[in-house]
């Protein structure tokens, strides 16, 4: 899953849920300051992304998400869990 795809989907969702102009949504957009989204909006946005990517985001993972980029990290992290770090020195 590449970031551009997630951003594109998130932008669509933001336009629908928040009524914002898709042109203003970027990775650096702050949900609160740039997109006028409160905590309930963020839950709705993430819920719509869960739908679109068939993932499940635990409630507590939303804490600390303030920008679109962070939300993209969260979605990708859940959709494609990082491989366990390979040990440099196998025993």
């Amino acid at each position: 899953m590449d970031r551009a795809t997630v951003l594109e989907q998130l932008t669509e969702v933001a336009a629908d849920v928040l009524g914002v102009d898709p042109a203003i949504v970027s990775e650096s957009s702050s949900f609160k300051d740039d997109l006028d989204a409160d905590s309930l909006d963020l839950v709705e946005v993430v819920m719509a992304l869960e739908e679109r990517f068939s993932i499940s985001v635990p409630e507590d993972k939303l804490d600390g998400i303030t920008t679109v980029g962070e939300a993209i990290d969260l979605v990708i992290g859940i959709a494609e869990p990082a491989e366990p770090a390979e040990s440099a020195n196998p025993a």
């Binding site: 928040l18 009524g19 309930l40 709705e44 819920m47």
Partner: protein, 415 residues
Amino acid sequence: MTREARSRVAVVGMGVKSPAGSDLDTFWANLLSGRSFAARITRFDPSDLPVQFAGEVADFDPLAYLDYKEAKRADRVAQLGFAAAADALADAGDLGADPARCGVVAGTGVGGLITQEAQEQILFSKGAARVSPMLVPMMMANATAALIGMKLGWTGPNFCVATACAAGSHGVGEGARLIREGSADVVLAGGSEAAVTPIAIAAFARMGALSGRHEAPELASRPFDVDRDGFVIGEGAAFLVLERWDRAVARGARIYGEVAGYGRNADAYHITAPSPGGVGAAECMRLALVDAGMEPSDIGHVNAHGTSTPLNDAAEAEAMIKVFGHDGPPVTSIKGATGHLIGAAGAVEAVTSFLAMRAGLVPPTANFERSEDELAIDVVHGEPRRLAAAPVVSNSFGFGGHNASLVLAPPNDQA
């Protein structure tokens, strides 16, 4: 509080969203026409329901009143309510009031039922994790009052009344009390309802409360008529701007009239059936008359609850005979035209009463032809009745046995 000690309550603005029209002029013209606005439901496909017609508010665009996100976060009940309140406020002119002295009282029967029903579908089909975080603030019964207060920045008393079909009249009455007692200078008071939904229709139909006149929905709502067979559910909202009388006079406001009396009580008899002989309703009207300092003979006409159910209309007719005698004032029910707007009904009918006093006309009861012999009341029907402006009793009675009667008076400064 004695009448001498309390402030008088002027009505200085009104707004309505109803199946019979969504501005005062259209609404009034449609009521005078004598036609009914019940029709097949269009907002969703009603094909699987036992009753497939209702009174809907046509062509309502919430975006004319709310921005995109506000509208998305408000159930239709709050959208309609806010729109009616905004129209009323625009109608009232420049109030110039301190926001801390401005209040809101909004009646509703069930609140955001459309949202609740949709989210329950999601709960059952997709699971709890897909339920909207906006469900609670959209379905709660007080959402309309909250939206109006927030949008206007009014920080005075703000609450909702949920007394089923009596909520609209209770809303106006409780709003008037805030001004009388000095808690507010201006109050937006009224009610809203948007319960034309599959679950509500299924439920009311199961009670046997709805008309089943499928072959002719436009003839289904027929208050006080001998062939009435139930009510037609409707949606809508109305709000009135109430203002302390001396304040309204001082700023040269256009005054529609006065909320002169308010009675409320409970049947304490049955959860849905009216008390036998309409004793609770009769007592409620008497309370309102006493509150207004008026005699039954002072009343020009009655704007009845008149739902078109066999039980309500019989009990209300008996109640009116108890209060006014056999030669009582003429009676009208606009539910023939609009259907039954549940928690908005009393507010829409209060607006109607002021329009009637202003025009010197009582609108006809749509579809009424004749009542059973024992219900010997003078039901205005066919044509509007010309009548000099005189105080109106407007009734609302709700499931649960909640009764509310308003005495609404023309703008007579000697009152």
